[in-house]
Structure formats: structure tokens, C-alpha cells
């Protein structure tokens, strides 16, 4: 009697072929994207989305074509930060057009589609069991977004990942080894501990790990013009990857983010200068990738 592997195909639906087709479609759609960069952490609330937005703005100012992809389907925030909450999703000849800010930064975030007063509910035909399938549904949705969008020709696709150390690993596998990673941490022991786990997870894969950013490394006081400590002076843990930048917290950042404007345009602030230095640093490291 024949066994499973003696039989070609699956009787008509060609499920494996469908999955391969979608993967090929994604490869084709991303073929004109020069660099893919994921901003991740493992820890929530460390400023990944804010950093992604600021970094994109700084790269744009350096003359690069940049699109931001909000991979946090459950808590999308980039549409708000980019001032694109009221944007319309419009089909073009080669897929979904990516909405752009007035400065020309593409931002694809489900926050443009689902208003902030709506909880995102992944439906399930298995009653009360949506949690069982949620991760699969999330990746299927993300995959459809990658395959159905016209990404065009880009220097950088910056992908803002959701929190969770496991998400770093899952997205690294999903996005493939062409996607480089930058991790974000706060100076606190708790945050550094979680990020260490993410470093450890990512080192098992082939994705380039460019380094990490220490966010909120201090507080910028506009009155005295100095950066003061924001967290207790903890020992910096050894992540065994390069420290790319230490970014001080600037209160103007919160205001600008709410207004959908990047801080990177304020050249006089230490935070903005640090972001520009980070962009330059990342650019050099990405260009040096084989």
C-alpha cells in the first residue's frame, strides 16, 4: 500500500504549493528593497516604535527612501506617530499603495485602518478558542500584508516588531536571514535582562544582529542644557553585541510624537543629534553587510 510520501500533491488543494507561492510573491515584492531592518527588543515599553519612527526620519533626511512597517498588529502605533490615522488604503496596479508622511516616509500600519477605540479581535470558528490560533492568524495576516503591498524601490524597510522575546525569534525566522536586527533596551536591570534573552535567541539564527540601542539613557533638561540620570546608575550588562547609541529622553519627543512629527528634525537637541549619529552608524553597518 502506498505511503504518504509515495503520493505527489495532496489530492487537489495543493496546500504546500500555495504556501510556497505566497513566499515567492513576498520575495518578488521585496526584491527592490535594499535593506531590511527590524527594530526589536523583547521588552515592551522601551520605545521601539518611537525609535523606529525617529530612525526612519533621520535616514530620510540623509536622502534615503524609507518605509516603516508596523508589525505590531495588536497595538499598532506608527500611524498615530506619523499623523496617518485618517489615511485611506488604496489599491494600485501592483498592490496596496503605502501611505506616506508629508516628508515622504512610507508608513504601513493597521492603525490607519482600525481606530484606537476598537479592540482587535481575531475571530475563530472554534468557539472561545481564538487565543489558540492567534499567533498563526497574526503571521498569516502579516504575510498577506507583505505579499499584497507594493513596496516599490526602497533603501530601507524598517520593521517595528511587537514586544516579546519569542517574537524576536519568530519574526527573525519568518523574515529570513536578509533582515538585520537592532535591539532596544532601557538602562534598567529588568529591561536589560529581557533583552539579553532576545540576544541569546537571535544568535541561534543567521540574521545580522547590528547591535543595541540604550534608550532613555538620561533625561535632557532644557533649562540647564544637560543630560541628567533618569534611572539608577546600574551596571551596563554585557550583551556581546555593539552598543550603537545611547539616546537621552527629551520631553519634546512625547509632544512631537502625538503631533505626528519626528524629533529627528530638531537638530539642536542632544536626542536628535544622537538619533542622527545612530542613523549614520546603522547605514555604515548595513552597507558593510555581505
Amino acid at each position: 500500500m502506498k505511503t504518504y510520501f509515495d503520493i505527489a500533491g495532496d489530492g487537489g488543494s495543493q496546500i504546500v504549493d500555495q504556501v510556497v507561492d505566497i513566499q515567492e510573491k513576498i520575495r518578488h515584492k521585496l526584491s527592490r528593497v535594499k535593506h531590511r531592518l527590524a527594530i526589536a527588543s523583547g521588552k515592551g515599553g522601551v520605545g521601539k516604535s518611537t525609535l523606529a519612527m525617529q530612525l526612519a526620519a533621520a535616514l530620510r533626511q540623509r536622502g534615503k527612501t524609507v518605509t516603516l512597517l508596523d508589525a505590531d498588529l495588536n497595538g499598532p502605533s506608527l500611524a498615530h506617530m506619523a499623523g496617518l490615522q485618517e489615511s485611506l488604503f488604496i489599491p494600485g496596479p501592483a498592490g496596496l499603495h503605502v501611505p506616506k508622511t508629508k516628508d515622504g516616509i512610507g508608513v504601513l500600519s493597521l492603525g490607519s485602518m482600525v481606530s484606537e477605540d476598537q479592540a482587535i479581535d481575531f475571530e475563530s470558528v472554534a468557539p472561545s478558542e481564538s487565543f489558540t490560533w492567534r499567533a498563526t492568524r497574526e503571521f498569516t495576516t502579516f504575510r498577506d500584508l507583505l505579499a499584497g503591498t507594493d513596496w516599490g524601490t526602497l533603501d530601507y524597510l524598517v520593521i517595528d516588531l511587537p514586544p516579546g522575546a519569542h517574537k524576536c525569534y519568530e519574526f527573525a525566522q519568518f523574515l529570513g536571514s536578509e533582515t538585520a536586527f537592532v535591539l532596544v533596551t532601557l538602562p534598567s536591570d529588568v529591561s536589560q535582562g529581557v533583552v539579553r534573552r532576545s540576544v541569546s535567541a537571535l544568535k541561534k539564527l543567521k540574521n545580522p544582529l547590528l547591535g543595541y540601542v540604550e534608550n532613555m539613557s538620561g533625561y535632557y533638561c532644557a533649562d540647564c542644557g544637560k543630560v541628567k540620570p533618569l534611572f539608577p546608575q546600574n551596571t551596563r550588562m554585557n550583551f556581546d553585541i555593539p552598543l550603537l547609541a545611547s539616546l537621552p529622553f527629551d520631553p519634546r519627543l512625547a509632544t512631537l510624537c502625538d503631533q505626528g512629527q519626528p524629533l529627528a528634525y530638531l537638530f539642536d537637541s542632544p536626542a536628535a543629534q544622537a538619533i542622527h549619529a545612530l542613523a549614520e552608524n546603522i547605514e555604515k553597518r548595513m552597507e558593510a553587510q555581505p
Partner: protein, 166 residues
């Protein structure tokens, strides 16, 4: 998963009939196969968990999604000739994780009668991620109505693209 006709030692094939894949409103799925040699038929019956597994993968059983929404779209695309009605994208489709929210928003926005779409515009819509189509359709039609257009064509889509800064 594959099925083998033990008698003939032949893999069974999905039957080429309209009712090859039938979803139930209780989350079950009936998929009919037949042996190409002896034509013996069997039906695979899934429980809601198994149906959900397939739905979650976003693949098509027998060329259609479990809910049949994509097949509806494909049927409508085939019927298009010059001008067509709006793409028949169900907001209740299983591939859309946000369908309930989108349904609410569309209802809240006062979903007027669907506008006609030209075949070229409808083809563009088909290239978008399936789960964003209902919201996109609603927004584009509202834009077109506000601007006094009587149909959605590529020029309307391009104009909307420019208006929204893309």
C-alpha cells in the same frame, strides 16, 4: 493530509463538483474526495478546531477559502466585462482578523449602496491583502460619492492616492 483508496492503491482526488467543499455555520467543513479509478467517494468532516487550523493558515481548500469569500470574488471577477458591480468581498470573511471591527466602522459610516467598479479597478482591488479590502472599498466609495463620481475606475483611485499623499 492525503487519502488513499486502499482497494485501488490510488490517491483520492478532490471531486470536481460545485459542492466539493461545504462549510457549515457551526464551524465544520465537508470536503469530498473520490478515487479516480473506482470513483468511490468519501467525505472528510472537520471539527471547528481543524477548520480553524486551515483558516489560520490562509490557504484555500479546493481553490477556495473555507468561507468561500475568495471564490465569490473570483466568480465576480470572471463575470466582469467592462463595468461591474463592486467586488463581492464579504466583510465576514474568515481571513479578515478585524472583520467585526470593520463591519462596525462601515456601518457607523453609513454604508450607502455599493458603487459600480470598472473591471480594471476591481482587478487592482484583488491585488490588495484580502483583509484590508472591505475597509478600502468602503473608504474609496465614500470618497467617490463625496466627489460626485458615479463609478470607481482607475482615475478615481489615482486621484484618491494623490489626495491622500501617497
Amino acid at each position: 493530509m492525503k487519502f488513499l483508496c486502499v482497494e485501488c492503491n490510488e490517491p483520492m482526488k478532490l471531486i470536481k463538483k460545485e459542492a466539493a467543499v461545504v462549510p457549515s455555520d457551526k464551524g465544520s467543513l465537508t470536503v469530498r474526495f473520490e478515487c479516480p479509478s473506482c470513483l468511490y467517494e468519501i467525505a472528510m468532516l472537520t471539527n471547528p478546531f481543524e477548520t480553524q487550523l486551515v483558516t489560520s493558515l490562509g490557504v484555500r481548500i479546493g481553490g477556495q477559502t473555507v468561507e468561500g469569500s475568495t471564490a465569490k470574488l473570483e466568480d465576480s471577477m470572471q463575470a466582469l466585462s467592462g463595468t461591474a458591480s463592486a467586488p463581492q468581498v464579504s466583510v465576514n470573511m474568515g481571513k479578515c482578523p478585524f472583520s467585526k471591527d470593520i463591519q462596525k466602522m462601515i456601518s457607523a459610516a453609513g454604508d450607502a449602496a455599493a458603487m459600480p467598479w470598472t473591471s480594471q479597478a476591481a482587478v487592482r482591488m484583488e491585488k490588495m491583502p484580502e483583509f484590508v479590502r472591505p475597509m478600502a472599498r468602503s473608504g474609496i466609495e465614500k470618497y467617490a460619492r463625496d466627489k460626485g463620481f458615479s463609478e470607481i475606475n482607475e482615475a478615481v483611485l489615482d486621484e484618491a492616492k494623490n489626495v491622500f499623499g501617497m
